[in-house]
């Protein structure tokens, strides 16, 4: 799918800086950001930064990826619960896919995610790496 640059840069705050929404009334944080709190309907909110570490709550190893990710296959994909309770889905990298497991501690790192064709937009964002420090 052709990705215009606006579609890409619109996501920079979330993908590059891990910006999330915290609603004033409920105190709940959501990532990606939302305009309306699903729990309270509240729209009063502030932007907060996600904690960079969390634990894997589930994962898979993708062996038949979509066209954009052929060169990375097989790669692990995981959902982690961050230290503030928010949940993030991301690829895992710098890890042997066979060693990924539930409970594994991970850290968000800024990485190249995908490139659209030979001369297309390069999409950057976050991946999980094993937390070792």
């Amino acid at each position: 799918m052709t990705m215009f640059s606006s579609r890409n840069w619109r996501e920079y705050p979330q993908r590059y800086r891990y910006e999330a929404t915290r609603f004033i009334k409920s105190g709940k944080t959501y990532f990606p950001p939302r305009q309306v709190d699903p729990e309270t309907g509240d729209t009063d909110r502030v932007t907060v930064t996600l904690p960079e570490t969390g634990k894997v709550i589930t994962y898979t190893v993708i062996r038949t990826p979509g066209a954009q990710f052929k060169d990375l296959s097989p790669y692990a994909l995981a959902i982690a619960e961050m230290t503030d309770g928010t949940r993030v889905m991301a690829q895992m990298t710098d890890v042997d896919v066979e060693t990924v497991k539930i409970g594994m501690e991970v850290r968000l790192e800024f990485r190249r995610i995908q490139q659209e064709g030979e001369a297309g937009v390069i999409g950057y964002g976050y991946k999980f790496v094993p937390k070792w420090f």
């Binding site: 898979t60 979509g66 066209a67 994909l77 995908q114």
Partner: protein
Amino acid sequence: MREVCVAGVGLSEWGEVWRKSIRDLFVDAATAAIKNAKVDHLDSLYVGCMSGGLFVGQEHLGALMADYLGMAGIPAMRVESACASGGMAFRAAFLEVASGASDIVMASGIEKMTDVSGDGATDALATAADQEYEVFNGATFPGLYAMMATAHMARYGTTREMLSAVAVKNHKNGAKNPVAQYPFEITSSQVGNSVMVADPLRILDCSPVTDGAAAVIVTTPEIAKKLGVPYVKVIGSAAATDTIALAQRADITVIKSATLATQRALKMAGKKLDEIQFAEVHDCFTIAEIIVAESIGKYLPGKAGAAILAGETALDGKFPMNPSGGLKSKGHPVGATGVAQIIELYKQLVGKAENGRQIPKSPKIGMAQNMGGSGASSVVHILEVA
């Protein structure tokens, strides 16, 4: 609301149907349904389709299909809710007849999936997930359900044998279904040794890519009686939604939209779950049938896998699930699936399931559960013999 019934059904050929276009497949199913119901006109038409745009570069399917059915002039609309498009189209037709706005409405579903490569199909199907926060990061549909499976196995001890049992059972039923794309039996070891797609899901845990169409005539019992055709009553219809992204759900081992839609449909029907005698459920992956069986309330969380392995949901079991062969064996043309589920309920309830696929002891009430994405939408219908 008026009483509503299904008074005629039609299916196209299902499978890799390269000779036929999306419009040919639709017209095959639609003309069969019209003939079956003996109706001479339609008041309106709903076409369920997930992605005509990505699979064949064609949108505006309501008008196209009405035109090629020879009925340009009637109101026609395309309905989309990813893989639940067919069930939602049926619900739209149900509501239009129930409201009294129309008397004879066609609910149809269509998907033409083999005009693109495997990659093209993977990418088109992935648009049912959160494009910016799941697919952007490399998620695929098997990958999303695989993550549900990993969590379910870790939490409840669900096993490889339990996953395989779903595929084995559905292929056993589908082997007797003349429309099935893969009408043959498979063994547990074949499933367990098939190629890995997204751990722990293997290729034989996954429903296939299918071309196919399905159509039903939705009307009132009075009109069906006048037409002199068999009919079954639609006594419950409900839909529900959940977060689009899997990561946002409080519990990823349950599909809450299926729970909510089932509860609402039962309430409308004035029935208890125990009164439902069989179900067609959305087994896009083996783990989906296990989770749905628990989410609709039929089994306690973590208990469906063992029950399926023990044969409780076989054709002659306590609660037959997917007598048609399910998405796994019958095939999964995503927009058509929800309508085809209704057709299976109709056939079972009027006693016309083919080739020894009929559920013993003539069931009186059945349920269809059709869902979109990783469960962000579900639609449930309850049908009863007239």
